[in-house]
Symmetry: C3
């Protein structure tokens, strides 16, 4: 039983680590490959979520929209790329009767700006559902990014 | 042997993750349930600990005091709840001849204030002893929070 | 296969955790013991690495140089020791045909200064190669610290 839980935890943590690796190593083209085709990705302020008014500031409801997002980011005129670095902690998961894993994870993003200074960019929680498809690889069915930090200027520039 | 160490590490990390989850998800009522009845929770400045003068700024030596703390926090007049987010790293443990696990873990707490800005609130180390009781569940026998950050205004508002 | 990956991941994460523990708990004398004799430790700005000009700001190419570094740090006149706290996330590894493990890990260092304030000191990635020697213990063959944060005053004071 414990053994089984360790295996699931390992595979879900591995998925999360691959996720932040695609973002932090500028391998954005790999980012959509961690989702199933019929997926949901949204970004929501915590105060809206808490108030039961989860109006997302960003919402993509299939994998093509994720690919489009990457393409438009690649074509944006950015003189110097910002550097983001993700840190995760406190992952919790539950297996549902529907075969989906539901999990929450604390995230912290540090941004290093053009003057070389590193500051806290954003904290929040990932609320994810994960499905293991026929190829045995776990992928995100949905990823809801619920952020604490409302004073963010360049919030929508890159995926979180 | 390696297998056994992986299992212990998994269970201790799971306890730490549940701990920060109760604090970050505002499930404060669950916080005392992670301790044994005859427990110790204290918060100590690192410079005092290093000097061998571990005068705690907060000290609760049984589970009822933890429950009381939660009740008083729930009755406090706080207009807008502050948001705290914990991040852990570098957990190390040793099994003692007395059946207790002694462990240390780095912690970082980010606070998002009322203007929506997220800043480093506190860093430090947890010095814990953990016991596995008859129900097989690991719980804290003691948790000593030794903090680096001495310039903290609202230190005692919530458990760390 | 999964079992084997879990075991390798556990041992590599354990090595990283011991690494940050030697630095954060002021056990600097143990820091070189995590490397093989014929090792490489270097610190490189990310922008240099990205530009293919990896001129390191610090470079030690055997274990004696690491020991010397610790000795000189112990003899430095520092009135009050700075406090550093490391946080790791997103570890990824690959096993090479040469028996070496190559891995990358996000790191964050928080510094607490003499006025007791805690701030982001540095973020970056560790690019490591790890070898398991005859005694079965994994050690660093090389550790390349590639840092994001270029506005760092006291960068070279302590190992990262």
């Amino acid at each position: 039983m414990l053994e089984h839980d360790i295996q699931i935890t390992y595979r879900l943590a591995d998925l999360q680590d691959r996720y932040i690796h695609t973002l932090d190593s500028d391998a954005l083209e790999d980012w959509p490959t961690l989702f199933v085709d019929d997926c949901l990705y949204e970004v929501i302020p915590k105060e809206n979520e808490d108030a039961g008014l989860p109006a997302p500031v960003m919402r993509y409801d299939n994998i093509r929209m994720l690919h489009d997002r990457v393409i438009s980011l690649r074509h944006a005129n950015i003189y110097q790329k910002p550097v983001y670095r993700h840190f995760l902690s406190g992952m919790r998961w539950l297996a549902g009767a529907d075969g989906l894993y539901r999990m929450t994870t604390n995230y912290l993003v540090i941004n290093t700006n053009q003057t070389g200074q590193s500051l806290v960019y954003q904290t929040g929680t990932y609320h994810d559902t994960v499905v293991v498809e026929e190829d045995g690889v776990p992928r995100f069915k949905s990823k809801r990014v619920i952020y604490d930090t409302s004073r963010v200027q360049t919030l929508l520039a890159v995926p979180i």
